[in-house]
C-alpha cells in the first residue's frame, strides 16, 4: 500500500510542480520517498529533476518559471519564495509574523478579464513518443491548434483501441470504433474519413497525470471521393494512405457512426483533436470541449447512452479523470496535514478545473479558504485599525509587487481601515487578506 500511496504522492507532486509550486511538489516527493524509499521517480524528482513536460508547459503557457531572487528587482514578480522552504513555512510565516519571503498571490486574472486576454494557465499537454512531430489541425474549420506530435509513420497494422473514419462502408478496416459522416440507419455509401486511434501508453516516461493509461493519437485520412468535399488544408497531410478500395462493411450493431456536425455542407472535413487532446475536456464526450462528437448524432440518444455505459476505453478515460481528481485531492490533503494551505489550494484549484461540480472538491476548497482567511486575517490584526505605509515613495517602487498589490497599497492613505480595504479592493476577501498579510510581512504597511 505504501508503494501505491507513494506513487500517488508523486503524481500529485508532478501536478503541483507543473503548476509552478515547486516547494509544494518537493514536499510531496519527499513524503513519497519516506513511504517508499525505493521509488526511483520520487528520488529523482525530489532531487530537483525536471518533471516530464515541465519546460514545455512553461513555454506553452508563457509563464516564466519562478525565480527565487532574494533581491527585489523592480517589476519582478511579487512575493516569490525559495524552493527549499519547509512544508507549511509560507502559511506559518504569514500566521506567526515570520519574516520569510512570501508566496505569489494566486488571484483572479482580472487583467485578463478586462483586456479580453486570458492569463496563461499551465496546460498539461499529453506526452507522445519523441519521434512524433507536431501537427497542425483545424477545429471546425476556423481555428488552428498545435497538437502534440502524432506518429510520423502510420503503424503497419492497427493496434488495440482504434477509432477509424472510413470513406465508405466498403472500406472498413479492423477496428473497434468507426465514425460515419451520416447518422442514418445504415452506413453511407461514401464519405471522407479520418482515423482516431488509441494507442497503448508508450514506453517512455510520460506524465501519468494527464494520460495515465494511454496516449490518444488521431490520424486522419481524407477521402477524395465524389462527396463534394474540398481538399483538406495543406497543413494536415494524410498520415495514412487511402483506405482499401473495398473494406468489409462495419457491423451496424456495433459501428460508431460520426456525423461531424458538418452534416452535408461543403465544409472540408478537417481533422479534429482527439477527445483526450482537447484542453480541459471534462470527459471524452464533453460536447463543449469536444464539439466534433455528438452522441445524439451517432445513433440516437438511447443508443448513445448504451455506448457510454459500455466498457470502452473512452469511458475508462472518464473514470481515469475521476481518479486523477482523487489523486490530486489526496495530495491536497497531504499538504493540508503539513500546514501548507497555499499549496493545497493550488492543488484543489487544479482538481476543481477537472471536476468543477465535485462536491468533495467544493467542500475541501471552502474549508481551505476558510482556514487561509483566518490565518491571513490574524496576520492583519484588528480590522478597524487604519494601516499606514511604512516606506517612502522612492522605496516603494523598488518593491516586488504586482498590480493588485499595487492597487491595495495605493488605497492606504491613512484614512481607510483594514475593513474598508476589504470593501474597496474589488477582490475577494481572501485575496485582499492575502495581499495585506504579505504587505505586512514585507514591512510595507503597519499591522492592525
Amino acid at each position: 500500500m505504501s508503494k501505491d500511496r507513494a506513487a500517488q504522492l508523486v503524481e500529485a507532486g508532478i501536478w503541483l510542480k507543473l503548476s509552478g509550486d515547486r516547494e509544494g511538489a518537493a514536499k510531496l516527493f519527499e513524503r513519497a520517498l519516506k513511504l517508499d524509499p525505493e521509488n526511483e521517480k520520487a528520488a529523482e524528482l525530489s532531487g530537483g529533476a525536471p518533471v516530464p513536460g515541465e519546460g514545455e508547459v512553461e513555454r506553452a503557457s508563457g509563464i516564466r518559471p519562478r525565480s527565487n531572487s532574494p533581491v527585489p528587482v523592480p517589476g519582478a514578480h511579487p512575493f516569490e519564495r525559495p524552493v527549499d522552504a519547509l512544508p507549511g513555512d509560507r502559511d506559518r510565516e504569514l500566521a506567526t509574523g515570520g519574516s520569510g519571503v512570501i508566496p505569489e498571490p494566486s488571484l483572479d486574472e482580472d487583467w485578463g478579464r478586462m483586456t479580453g486576454a486570458t492569463t496563461p494557465v499551465p496546460q498539461i499537454l499529453p506526452v507522445v513518443p519523441s519521434n512524433q512531430q507536431p501537427q497542425t489541425v483545424s477545429l471546425d474549420g476556423d481555428a488552428v491548434l498545435e497538437t502534440p506530435a502524432l506518429f510520423g509513420e502510420p503503424p503497419q497494422s492497427s493496434r488495440s483501441g482504434t477509432m477509424q473514419l472510413y470513406p465508405d462502408t466498403q472500406s472498413s478496416r479492423s477496428g473497434t470504433m468507426q465514425l460515419y459522416p451520416d447518422a442514418g440507419d445504415g452506413p453511407p455509401t461514401s464519405s471522407r474519413s479520418g482515423t482516431m486511434q488509441l494507442y497503448p501508453e508508450p514506453s517512455m516516461p510520460a506524465p501519468r497525470t494527464t494520460l495515465p493509461e494511454f496516449a490518444a493519437v488521431r490520424t486522419v485520412t481524407l477521402g477524395h471521393d465524389d462527396g463534394g468535399f474540398e481538399s483538406p488544408p495543406p497543413s494536415t497531410p494524410p498520415l495514412f494512405g487511402p483506405p482499401p478500395a473495398s473494406p468489409p462493411p462495419p457491423e451496424p450493431q456495433t459501428a460508431w457512426g460520426w456525423s461531424p456536425s458538418l452534416g452535408n455542407d461543403a465544409e472540408p472535413l478537417a481533422p479534429r483533436p482527439s477527445p483526450h487532446l482537447a484542453p480541459r475536456a471534462e470527459s471524452a464526450w464533453d460536447q463543449r470541449s469536444n464539439p466534433g462528437i455528438k452522441l445524439e448524432s451517432v445513433v440516437g440518444r438511447d443508443r448513445a447512452l448504451e455506448l457510454i455505459s459500455s466498457d470502452s476505453k473512452i469511458t475508462r478515460a472518464a473514470e481515469t479523470r475521476q481518479d486523477e481528481v482523487r489523486i490530486i485531492l489526496r495530495g491536497a490533503r497531504d499538504l493540508l496535514e503539513l500546514d501548507d494551505h497555499t499549496g493545497a489550494m493550488e492543488l484543489i484549484n487544479k482538481a476543481q478545473a477537472l471536476a468543477p461540480d465535485d462536491a468533495e472538491v467544493i467542500a475541501l476548497k471552502e474549508r481551505s479558504e476558510k482556514t487561509l482567511l483566518t490565518m491571513f486575517e490574524s496576520k492583519v490584526g484588528r480590522l478597524e485599525t487604519v494601516p499606514r505605509v511604512l516606506l517612502k515613495d522612492d522605496e516603494i517602487i523598488w518593491l516586488n509587487l504586482d498590480h493588485r498589490a499595487g492597487f491595495v497599497l495605493a488605497q492606504i492613505d491613512g484614512t481607510v481601515t483594514f475593513d474598508d480595504l476589504f470593501s474597496v479592493s474589488g477582490m475577494s476577501r481572501i485575496d485582499t487578506a492575502r495581499i495585506l498579510a504579505q504587505l505586512i510581512d514585507e514591512g510595507v504597511i503597519s499591522r492592525g
Binding site: A117, H403, F407, L409, F422, S425, G426, R429
Partner: protein
C-alpha cells in the same frame, strides 16, 4: 435656565458631493464629517462582500465595482422612468435602473431594488450622523437645497429622502438662492446677481434678482452632464494614451488601473489650481497580459497642459452663460455680483473665462464647495430662530398653468408666487358644439405644453351645444399652505364642476414610504440589538478568561475535595455553555451565559477568600 434650542442644519445634497452646515454663535459654519473632511461624496454602494458603503469609501470602489455603485442619483430623483431625460441617461449608467410600479425609478444594488429617495436618504443619514456627532445630540430638522430647475416631483422626492433619513425637512430651497444667501449674509444686496455653479457632475448658471429680501431666480440653465469629472477624464485619457504609446497597454480597460488613474487625475487637477506643475506617480499600475514585471506610471502634468486639455469644457460653460443671460434679457454689465460655486471654479482657467465674459472679478470670500450648504444653514436658522428678523416665505418653484388649444400653455400661477394663493381665469370652448373640455394641469416654464411636467388631468362634461367661444368655463387654481394644488373647472352657465387635487409625488406612494419607514425602524432595532449582543459577547469573553484563570487556583485550593470537584464541574459546564453562547446572536442566550459565569466567578472568589488565598 432656558432650554437649549434644538439644532437645525442646512444640507447641500449635491450630484457629486454633499455638505452639511449650521449656524453657530450667529455665523454659518460647515460641520466637518467624522472622517475629518467637509465634503461627503454622494455615492452609495454595496461592496463585493455585501457591505453598504456611503461617501468616500463608496467612491473609492466606484470603478472596481461599477454595477453596485450608485453615483449622481440626483440626476434621476423624482423623474419618471419613461421620461426622455431618464431614458437618455440609461446607456451611460453602469448600474441597473428599472421601472417601478408607477413609472418611478428603481435601482438594483446587489439583490435589492432601491427607490431614489432611499439612496439619497443614505447620503442624508451620513450627514445627519456627522451633525449629531458635532452637536453631541440628536438632529431632526433640516433644510435641503435643490437645483432651481427641480419641479415639484423632484422636490417631493428630496423631501421623502429626508424623511427616510429621519429628518424633518423644513423647506426645500434653490441652490443659487442658498449661495446668494450665504454670500449676502450680513450684507445688504439688491439687484441682479449671477451664480456660476460648476460642480463635480453638473453645471448650473442662474440669474437672481434680489430686492427687499426677496430672492427671485429669473433665469436658470446649464448642463447636467458637464462637471469636474469631465476635466478628470481629459487627464485620464492623456495619461492613458501616453502610457499606451509606451507600453502598448490601455490602462482604461483595467478597472483597478482606471480607479487609480481617476483618483490621481482628480488629485492632480486640484493641485494645479494652486501650483504650476504636479507629478503623477502610480507605481505598479499594471501587469502586462503576457506576464512580466508590473509597470509604473510616472508623469508630470503642468497647468498649461491641463488648460489645453480642458479648453473646450471651459468654453462650453461660457456658452451656457450667454444663453441664460440672453433668456433673462440681462447683459453681463447689468450684474452686480458674480458668485462662484463648486470646486471646479477654483481652476484658474475657469475664473479667467468667467472674468473675461462677465467683465468683472468673481466674488471672493465664500468657499465655493461650501457656500450652498452655508446658505441653507442661514435659512434654517432664520426659520427656527424666533429672534431672527429674516422673514421667509414659501413660494412656488415653477409656474402652474393649463394646456390650451394649439399645444400651448396658459400660466395661471407664475413661479415664485407666495403660497397660499388662489387664481381664477375664464376660458372658452375652442370648437363649435364642444360638449367636453379636458383640463391638463402643467408645471414648468415652457410655453409649449409638452415641454412642461403634466401634474394631472380631468374632463369637464355636459357643456351646452354652442358655437366656439360661447361657452365660458372658470378654471380655479388653489395652492394651500401645505403646497397642495387644487384645480377646478366650472361651467358658468350650468354650474357643473369637476376638480382634481394634485399632490407632488416623488415616485413613492404614501404606502411605500410608510413601509420603508417601518423597515427602517425594524433595522434600527436590529442594529441596536446587534450592538447589545456584541457588548455582551465581549463581556462573556472577559468572564471566560477570568474563570480560566481561577480554575487552577481553585483546584490547588480545594485539593480534589468533593466540594471542589463539584464546583469545578459546574464551572466547566458554564464554560461549555459560554462557548455555545459566544456563537449565538440571541441576546437572551448570551446574557444567560454571562450571568452563569458571573455566578461561577463569585462562587470561586468566595471559596478562595474563605480559605485564605
Amino acid at each position: 435656565m432656558a432650554a437649549e434650542r434644538e439644532p437645525v442644519i442646512g444640507i447641500d445634497l449635491g450630484t457629486t458631493n454633499s455638505v452639511v452646515a449650521t449656524v453657530q454663535s450667529g455665523s454659518p459654519v460647515v460641520i466637518r464629517g467624522r472622517s475629518g473632511v467637509n465634503l461627503l461624496p454622494s455615492v452609495v454602494a454595496v461592496s463585493k462582500i455585501g457591505k453598504t458603503l456611503v461617501g468616500q469609501i463608496a467612491k473609492r470602489q466606484a470603478i472596481t465595482n461599477p454595477t453596485d455603485t450608485v453615483y449622481a442619483s440626483k440626476r434621476l430623483i423624482g423623474r419618471k422612468f419613461s421620461s426622455t431625460q431618464v431614458q437618455s441617461s440609461l446607456p451611460s449608467l453602469p448600474y441597473s435602473v428599472e421601472a417601478g410600479d408607477h413609472d418611478d425609478i428603481r435601482v438594483k444594488l446587489a439583490d435589492k431594488r432601491y427607490s431614489l429617495p432611499e439612496l439619497s436618504a443614505m447620503v442624508l443619514k451620513e450627514l445627519k450622523l456627522d451633525a449629531e456627532a458635532y452637536f453631541g445630540r440628536s438632529v431632526k430638522k433640516a433644510i435641503i437645497t435643490v437645483p432651481a430647475y427641480f419641479n415639484d416631483g423632484q422636490r417631493q422626492a428630496t423631501k421623502d429622502a429626508g424623511r427616510i433619513a429621519g429628518l424633518e425637512v423644513l423647506r426645500i430651497i434653490n441652490e443659487p438662492t442658498a449661495a446668494a444667501l450665504a454670500y449676502g449674509f450680513g450684507k445688504n444686496i439688491n439687484g441682479k446677481i449671477a451664480v456660476f455653479d460648476l460642480g463635480g457632475g453638473t453645471f448650473d448658471i442662474s440669474v437672481l434678482e434680489i430686492g427687499n429680501g426677496v430672492f427671485d431666480v429669473i433665469a436658470t440653465g446649464g448642463d447636467t452632464f458637464l462637471g469636474g469629472e469631465d476635466f478628470d477624464n481629459r487627464v485620464i485619457n492623456w495619461l492613458a494614451q501616453d502610457f499606451e504609446r509606451e507600453h502598448h497597454l490601455d490602462l482604461r480597460k483595467d478597472r483597478m488601473a482606471l480607479q487609480r488613474l481617476k483618483d490621481a487625475a482628480e488629485k492632480a487637477k486640484i493641485e494645479l489650481s494652486t501650483t504650476r506643475e504636479t507629478q503623477v506617480n502610480l507605481p505598479f499600475i499594471a501587469t502586462p497580459a503576457s506576464g512580466g514585471s508590473a509597470l509604473h506610471l510616472q508623469k508630470a502634468l503642468s497647468r498649461e497642459k491641463l488648460e489645453e486639455l480642458a479648453a473646450d469644457l471651459v468654453q462650453r460653460t461660457i456658452e451656457h452663460c450667454a444663453q441664460v443671460l440672453d433668456e433673462a434679457r440681462v447683459k453681463p454689465i447689468d450684474l452686480r455680483e458674480m458668485i462662484l460655486v463648486g470646486g471646479m471654479t477654483r481652476m484658474p482657467a475657469v475664473q479667467d473665462a468667467v472674468k473675461q465674459y462677465f467683465r468683472r472679478d468673481p466674488s471672493k470670500g465664500v468657499h465655493p464647495d461650501e457656500v450652498v450648504a452655508l446658505g441653507a444653514a442661514v435659512q434654517a436658522e432664520a426659520l427656527t430662530n424666533e429672534a431672527s428678523d429674516v422673514v421667509l416665505l414659501d413660494v412656488t418653484p415653477q409656474s402652474l398653468g393649463v394646456a390650451i388649444a394649439g399645444g400651448y400653455v396658459r400660466r395661471l400661477i407664475p413661479k415664485n408666487t407666495t403660497v397660499p394663493t388662489a387664481v381664477t381665469e375664464v376660458f372658452n370652448t375652442s370648437r363649435d358644439n364642444q360638449t367636453t373640455v379636458k383640463i391638463m394641469v402643467l408645471q414648468g416654464e415652457s410655453d409649449v405644453a409638452h415641454e412642461n411636467e403634466l401634474l394631472g388631468e380631468f374632463i369637464l362634461t355636459g357643456l351646452r351645444l354652442a358655437k366656439r367661444g360661447e361657452v365660458e368655463i372658470d378654471v380655479i387654481f388653489e395652492i394651500n399652505s401645505e403646497g397642495l394644488v387644487s384645480v377646478a373647472a366650472r361651467d358658468r352657465e350650468t354650474g357643473q364642476q369637476q376638480s382634481i387635487q394634485v399632490t407632488a409625488s416623488g415616485g413613492l406612494t404614501q404606502d411605500e414610504l410608510k413601509q420603508i419607514l417601518d423597515d427602517q425602524a425594524d433595522l434600527l432595532l436590529e442594529a441596536r440589538a446587534g450592538e447589545e449582543v456584541k457588548l455582551r459577547q465581549a463581556e462573556l469573553d472577559s468572564l471566560v478568561n477570568e474563570v480560566n484563570e481561577l480554575i487552577p487556583q481553585l483546584q490547588k485550593a480545594t485539593q480534589g475535595s468533593e466540594f471542589g470537584t463539584d464546583a469545578l464541574a459546574k464551572a466547566r459546564a458554564a464554560l461549555e455553555q459560554a462557548r455555545a453562547a459566544r456563537a449565538s446572536t440571541d441576546l437572551n442566550v448570551v446574557t444567560t451565559s454571562v450571568d452563569a459565569l458571573t455566578r461561577t466567578i463569585s462562587l470561586f472568589k468566595g471559596v478562595l477568600q474563605r480559605i485564605g488565598r
